[in-house]
Symmetry: C2
Subunit: 421 residues, 2 copies
């Protein structure tokens, strides 16, 4: 494979088959270099119109009549579209609540579906909110329940063999982030799911950092349960509701632990006892936040239109470009690669470690118009969102990192975490 760094970023942008998608987003500050789509995706232009319709037409004019006419089916309709991105059937995915609440629901349900098994296996690369929810679920299920957090050797990945070795007949559930939030390590979903199943454990995948940016095939992997957010590579907007997946053949064993009227078979009969709706709808609880929910759909449509294979191809190429440029420009300045070097083991962001990481990130944002994010203790994450990230942005970020460190431009910034997001 020829080295990408021998090509100019402008040339790479010109040859990018997805280059036209950038104009489908609101990008009205050309001076800004946004490499944090792995945290909050950009605003799709179509979403602006959609939200106006929801607010002015559906809420303002339609009022309560819009519930049956437009809103009640949103969780399933959008869930059905996300299903196409993750190798699931429409009846296996629904949009509801936050990622963490969904994880809690599926963790409790998964534990209760596995009587006699009391352990959850996860790892230290997992997003901490997942760990907190798993610990909360275990605590609620009883004093015998526990969460084992496997450590990584290098901060980047946990070897598949170490994971497999930790799973035994006490394991109810294996829960992992498909792509690790800090290092960007991509787990082999099929292999780990098989290792879990070999011991009778269920596997629950957090797809937050992979959905919308790389092909996922839950069906082929035999995955049991999954959750994921919609505000990163799906561009659903800040805090947009999350989704959850329950394999169809497992649905009769997975009972929602937080019952509410939206998961009831006949909510408008107002019966005093809950009768769960059929299928995936039984995992709903309360009334969904419609503005944030409806805002998800245009972003998902863009991903479907572009095609997840093409998105993955560009993503791999762009993270490779970053790593090639890092090797030349940033290694001499004290940066370390904290992401897998092999593209097939990498999600869509590249983490660079530096002893002054937090202050460098602040200087980048404040002085250079480059937005990465920072993950304690010392990681700068550069996120690639192939629908709108250009090679020219990547090159500018590399140059900005170089200049900020070379010239000590971070010296005036605080090294405490206050205000970090």
């Amino acid at each position: 494979m020829p080295e990408l760094r021998s090509l100019s970023p402008n040339r790479l942008d010109r040859d990018d088959p997805l280059v036209g998608f950038r104009s489908r987003f609101v990008v009205d500050d050309p001076g800004l270099c946004y490499l944090d789509g792995n945290s909050l995706g950009r605003l799709p232009a179509e979403t602006v119109a959609r939200i106006q319709t929801v607010v002015n037409e559906e809420w303002g004019r339609g009022l309560v009549r819009s519930w049956p006419a437009a809103w009640v089916e949103l969780p399933e309709r959008i869930g059905g579209k996300i299903a196409r991105l993750i190798g699931a059937d429409a009846g296996e995915v629904i949009v509801a609540d936050s990622t963490t609440v969904n994880l809690f629901k599926l963790a409790v349900a998964g534990l209760r579906a596995q009587p006699g098994r009391t352990r959850i296996i996860t790892d230290a690369l997992n997003f901490p909110s997942d760990l907190y929810a798993l610990q909360a679920a275990a605590r609620l299920c009883g004093p015998d329940y526990e969460v084992e957090i496997l450590d990584s050797v290098d901060g980047i990945s946990v070897p598949a063999e170490a994971l497999a070795a930790a799973i035994d007949e006490r394991t109810a559930l294996v829960e992992l982030s498909h792509v690790a939030f800090k290092s960007g390590h991509l787990y082999d979903m099929a292999a780990i799911s098989a290792a879990a199943h070999a011991q009778g454990a269920l596997v629950l995948w957090d797809l937050c950092h992979s959905v919308g940016v790389l092909p996922i095939d839950l069906r082929a992997a035999g995955a049991d349960l999954a959750i994921g957010c919609t505000y990163k590579y799906l561009n659903g907007g800040p805090g947009s509701p999350a989704f959850l997946f329950v394999r169809e053949t497992l649905q009769d064993r997975i009972e929602n632990p937080i019952n509410g009227w939206f998961g009831d078979a006949q909510p408008f009969e107002f019966a005093l006892d809950h009768r769960p709706a059929k299928g995936i709808r039984s995992l709903l609880t309360g009334t969904p936040p419609v503005l944030s929910l409806a805002a998800i759909e245009p972003g998902v449509d863009l991903v479907l239109e572009a095609g997840i294979e093409r998105i993955r191809e560009k993503s791999m190429r762009q993270t490779r470009y970053l790593i090639e440029r890092f090797d030349v420009e940033l290694v001499p300045l004290g940066f370390e690669l904290r992401s897998p070097r092999e593209a097939e083991w990498r999600g869509s962001h590249v983490s660079l470690g530096h002893a002054e990481g937090l202050r460098i990130a602040r200087a980048l944002i404040d002085r250079m118009g480059v937005i990465p994010d920072f993950r304690a203790p010392d990681n700068i994450r550069l996120g690639v969102a192939p629908l709108y990230t250009s090679y020219e942005e990547l090159e500018r970020a590399v140059q900005a990192l170089r200049v900020v460190v070379r010239d000590g431009l971070y010296a005036d910034y605080s090294a405490t975490l206050a205000g970090v997001t």
Copy 2:
């Protein structure tokens, strides 16, 4: 008190001190008579501008920088404003999740704060989603836990003595809707809280049908816990996030059972173990849906500006007007009053029972431009939202009910529940 029905609706509107607030809402279909603000409040004009700012400026332009700059404080800031409406301190209220998820959280936390006590007392007037969440919470806490649902004598209210008699040393928690969703019965919060406390039980109030439309004084009532929605009389928009209240002096005993990063003391340290934030923020779980969250504030501001005492005064007057007109016009047509006749025991909606209730409600919406809602088996609810409901609308609704029944205009409509909201 002179009979209101002797005055013309136009005269009553002219004399209404709150009449000017109607123009603060988007009301662009003067032919529509909207009496379902008790289900979904109207769209405040200011909210249209606010959502545009959040979408275009904060998301589109500010991107991830808007989390520290504008979004992270929304749950507490809006919670602090709601606190002023319910007799609470700012540090006692926060906006999070859905009503049902919040109820689940506080029910589990309340049960765990009361070791040795295994019963929840509630009643059959409660909103069924509350009952489902309570039953789910009890189930998760163990096989000894149970929910006792007290029946009402007349479908309208449960006598305070019957409630008090049911509370004993086994009772961990009493959970009731402050205003019953069907009948509109208003509980005496102070008396019931005192009865619960006399037996060592905690009391958890559902304020969905009272917040924003009548004065609530949780502090004076000695209430322990509360939840409520923001999309009815607070006009926060469809499915806007709910709020929860924990009495300050109880906060060290109430532990969030669904831990997540938004409730962590230092979420950006990414520690593997959860350390709860101080105070009410510890009740947060995942990332909140910002568009739906930010949309709440203008509606709350309108209620604060109008003043809850003036709102209550108009609400009582308007429900009284409805009942007086019902007595004259609707009793002869087979309608029955299903709400308390005494204003001090009534929330802000009036329920009318009729054997053909569902078909009548459908005819009202479809043929008369009058929107009430229907609550099985046979209740038509007429909701009064004093910030925008006019007497002229109330009179039109009464006339529409009269004509639909007198002329049998409901005959073509279905009596099955499909499509009801």
